[in-house]
Structures are given as C-alpha cells and as structure tokens.
Amino acid sequence: MHSPTISRLLVTFAVCYLIFLYAPVLLLPLFSFNDNVYPNFPLKGFTLKWYQQMLRDQPLLDALWASARVGIAVSFVSTVLGLFAAKAMTRYSFPGKGTITSLIMLPLVVPSIILGIALLTLVRQVFDLDLSLITVTASHVLICVPLAMLVLMARLEGFDKNLEEASFDLGEGAWRTFWRVTFPLILPGLVSSFLLCFTTSFDEFLLAFFLSGTQPTLPIYIYGLLRFPTKIPGVLAMGSCILMISILVVAFSEWFRRRGIDSQQGSIV
C-alpha cells in the first residue's frame, strides 16, 4: 500500500526538516559556552562566564520573573475563561453560538500590532490608566482565551456526557459534579491549555511592547539587547536555560499525563 520510494523520500525529508528546526535552536547553547562576545565562528573556547554574567544581570532576572508572573496569571485566567466557554459550547445549546464563537476567535485573526495599538488607545486615551504588567497580562489573556477554548472544547467533546448526567442523578450538585467527575477527566486538557497559554504569553513580544510600563517582560528586554549585542552571550545563556527547563517540564507533564486518568487512546495532546 505504501510505495517504498515515497516512504524513503518522506523519511529523508523528515530528518532534514528536523535538522532545519533544531539548527538555530542548538546554536544558542553552543555559543552560550563560547568564549567570545560575538556569536561568530570559529569557536574560541569553553567558558561558564556567560552563565555567571546572566545570574548577576539583575534587569535580566527581573524581566524573566516578570514574564513568568505574567505567564502564570494569563494561563490561569485564560484557562478558567476558556473552560467556561468550552463547557457552555459543548454541553448546552443556546442561540447565537456561531456569532459567539467568531467573537471569541476574533483576536486570533487580527494582527497583534493592531490589537496592540487598539488596546493602547483604550487604556491610555479612554481610561487613562498607567501601563504596567497588568495591562500586559490583560492583552495576553485576549489572545490566549481562544486557544484555551479550542483545546478544552476538543477535550470536552471527547468524553461521555452521560458520566456527568449520572452524577447529577445520583444527587450531586453542579459544583460537586464538576469537581469529582469532569475535572479529573479534563485535567490533561487543562494542563495542555495552561502550558499552551503560558508559552504563548511568555514568548509574546508585540503586545507586551505596546502595553508594558516600567517593568519589561523578557522578550522586550531581549529585543533591547539585540540591537546592542554586547550583552548577548548572557541572553544566550538565559535562552539555553529556558530551553533546558522547558524540556524538563514537557517530560514531566508527559509522565504526569501517563499516570493520570486518561480514557482516550491515541489522543493528540
């Protein structure tokens, strides 16, 4: 059924594509250990001093912590809001579902720069608020809620409504049903939503650029440094650390997922 030439071509392609994906990314750790301010070849020598510089760079660490705080807050709020929306969409029928879906998905189809300036105008001209991490968080929630809703809808559609109905029939209230039946089953979906929102927010640059105040987020700080690259090796060290940590987080969440209650075979996330 499968032609062997096509199979071989596909395998070669897949390998080349993986190299294409990883080459730039692997350069980051490579140059973070290189004893040279400029990330050029030839390599000069092994050193840990950039990692030391990174740990001493207080503004860099502040920006990292700011991004982490924003990311966690955004993931939390977006997942909760996404959950409400997903539950409503999959479990209830009510008028205007199509319009409501379009409205919630709207931020995904508007370029960030337009969202950024529109929100900036709203915050500064209409409400006359100061820009801060809170305004950044709000803007990130805007683009993460649609993602959370999509992920959770996929999850909620996948399992049996009867389980919830059975719980109601047995006398449990809505809250208890959610907590004892629905929540454990959708936990993998919640975790995926959380991770997806966190990654999106943590790495988001344009919206944060327009809506941040005194404290920059990590992407904004990195952008500032990219144009003055003498501090780049410290940033490369930071990027490599983030890469390392995220590999560990993904490995952990995968292990957690296998341990948890998962009734679906071959699920995608």
Partner: protein, 309 residues
C-alpha cells in the same frame, strides 16, 4: 473538622435544589456560563477596535488631540501621500504570502510523515516538533542571523571546507532571508493543525480507494488531501494573518527592503505623532486582510463543491 464537613454537605444539598431548577432552562445556563468569557472578550476586543475607529476621525497636533470628527486622515490615505502606505501594505502582504507558502509547503510533508508513517511514539514526535519553539522567538531570529551571516555558520563552514573563498552575501539582508526565518518561526503552528486533520482521516477510506484501483499519488490527491483541507486551511490562516503585521523579523534580517507596514503604524504611535493616521492604516489593513481571507475561503469552498460534483 465536623463543622466544616456539615457545611459542605449543606451547601451541596442546597445547590442540589437549585440545580434542578437550572436544568429546566438549558439556554439560560449555557449563556450564563459563557458570559464571563464573553464580557472579557467583548471588553478587550470590540471596545478597543471601536475606540480605534473613533480615533481615526480625530486629528493630532503634537501631543494633543483635536476630537472634532474629520475625514482628514482618510483623505491622506486615499490621496498622494497615502501611496506609500498602500505600497507597504502590498509589500507586507507579499512577504506574508511567500512565508505562508514556504511554511505550509514544508510543514505538510512533515505532518503527513507524522500521521501516516510514524506508528509508535507519535506523541514523542509532536514533542520533538514543539521543543524548538520553547526558546524565545527573538532569539530564534537572532540565531538565523548567526547562521546566515557574513561569518556565520554556513559561510565559515563552507570557507573552512574550502568550497568558497569569500563569504556568500546573498544569504542575509534580503527577502529570502526573511522567508527562511519565518518558515522556521511558524513551523509548529503549521504542522500541528495539518497533523490533526490528517490523523482524523478514516484509514478505511484509504484502503477503499486502493481497492478500487487508485495508485498512491491519485489516492492522495483524491482522498487524503481534500480531507486534510480543514487543517491545512487553518494552518494557512494562522500563519498568514499574523505575519502581515510582523515588522520585527524583516527589520532584523530583511536588509534595506525590510520596512513593513507595521513599522509605519508603530511610528504613528511613536515618533511621527499621528495616531489618527495610524488608526486609519490599521483599519484599512484589517479590511484588506478580511477581504483576502474571504476570497480565499470562497475559492476553496467552491473547489470543494466542484469536487463533490
């Protein structure tokens, strides 16, 4: 401990009665459930856009705004002075188009490989695809500068191997570099939707096609590809629309032709001090994108109708 336990029990009995009441009005419950999300999204999405539209009718003098409604900025956009913005919109659309084609064309075979050729550890492959995107987007663009640069990886590698004497200059600071960088940046966002679509295809359909005499190529064109369209279209839209407004990547690797419409809008809100004109440009940009996307979906929809016939 007991007191709290009773209180919890009482709450559940109380809400039980309420639940029975709720059960009778499904629409009401549904709408109430979704209302917090709706309110937030409405407030943060629609309100800003309305404000932007209102602002497009103002004039800005220095740092002050004159709020009397006027079509002045629209006149600029449609007049001689506005030509530059149309040109930049065109350039941004073209950049986005080439990047989208590149990303999706490369992502599709990879997604196909993962859906059909990988039998075990599918999740591992998905993770493999997404790990590179756990690094900062800006750092990835910077990494491409290092790869494609004058004494970057490719050039120094080729020189050391003795294949060239002088570094290749066409690798960086041109639209091709922008396309390559963007093709890398959006890879995961393109692969995943296509993969999900391909994965959902009922394998028995493929078997049926083979049994009816289709070769692998024909089977792909007649069965696999059409069924993967939802995911492919999602991928195309997810890459194309945000990229139109991206000015960071072109400014870092695009060279002298790296200026995009995003730069202009950002300048209107910054140094050029002309937010109403910036608002007009943004509105025009949104309309252009909406029209293009609409035409695209129409074209795709019509083809599917024809295929069914």
């Amino acid at each position: 401990m007991t007191a709290i336990g009773t209180a919890a029990g009482a709450t559940s009995r109380g809400s039980n009665a309420l639940s029975q009441l709720w059960l009778r009005s499904e629409s009401l419950r549904g709408l109430t459930l979704i209302s917090p999300t709706l309110v937030v999204m409405f407030g943060m999405m629609v309100a800003p856009i309305i404000v932007t539209i209102v602002q497009s009718f103002w004039t800005q003098n220095g740092f002050q705004f004159d709020r009397t409604p006027t079509l002045g900025s629209y006149a600029v956009m449609l007049g001689q002075d506005g030509v530059i913005y149309w040109r930049l919109i065109g350039r941004s659309l073209w950049m986005s188009f080439t990047a989208t084609v590149a990303v999706v064309a490369l992502a599709y075979p990879m997604a196909y490989f993962m859906a059909f050729r990988v039998t075990r550890h599918k999740l591992l492959w998905i993770i493999l695809i997404t790990i590179p995107f756990w690094t900062s987007y800006l750092l990835r663009v910077f990494a491409w500068k290092v790869i494609l640069g004058f004494n970057g990886a490719i050039n120094s590698g080729l020189i050391q191997a003795g294949l060239i004497k002088q570094p290749l200059e066409f690798l960086l600071y041109n639209p091709t570099a922008v396309t390559i960088t963007l093709a890398h940046a959006w890879a995961a966002y393109a692969i995943l939707p296509i993969y999900v679509s391909l994965e959902k295809i009922d394998r028995s359909l493929l078997e049926a096609a083979t049994d009816l005499g289709d070769g692998p190529v024909k089977r792909f064109l007649r069965v696999t590809f059409p069924l993967s369209l939802p995911g492919t279209i999602a991928a195309i839209l997810m890459v194309f629309i945000p990229t139109v407004g991206d000015y960071v990547t072109p400014s870092l690797v695009g060279g002298t032709d790296g200026m995009m419409i995003g730069n202009s809008i950002a300048m209107m809100y910054g140094r050029a001090n002309n937010q109403p004109l910036g608002a007009v440009i943004s509105i025009v940009m949104m309309l252009v994108i909406a029209v293009l996307v609409g035409l695209f979906l129409l074209a795709v929809g019509r083809r599917r109708l024809l295929q069914k016939a």
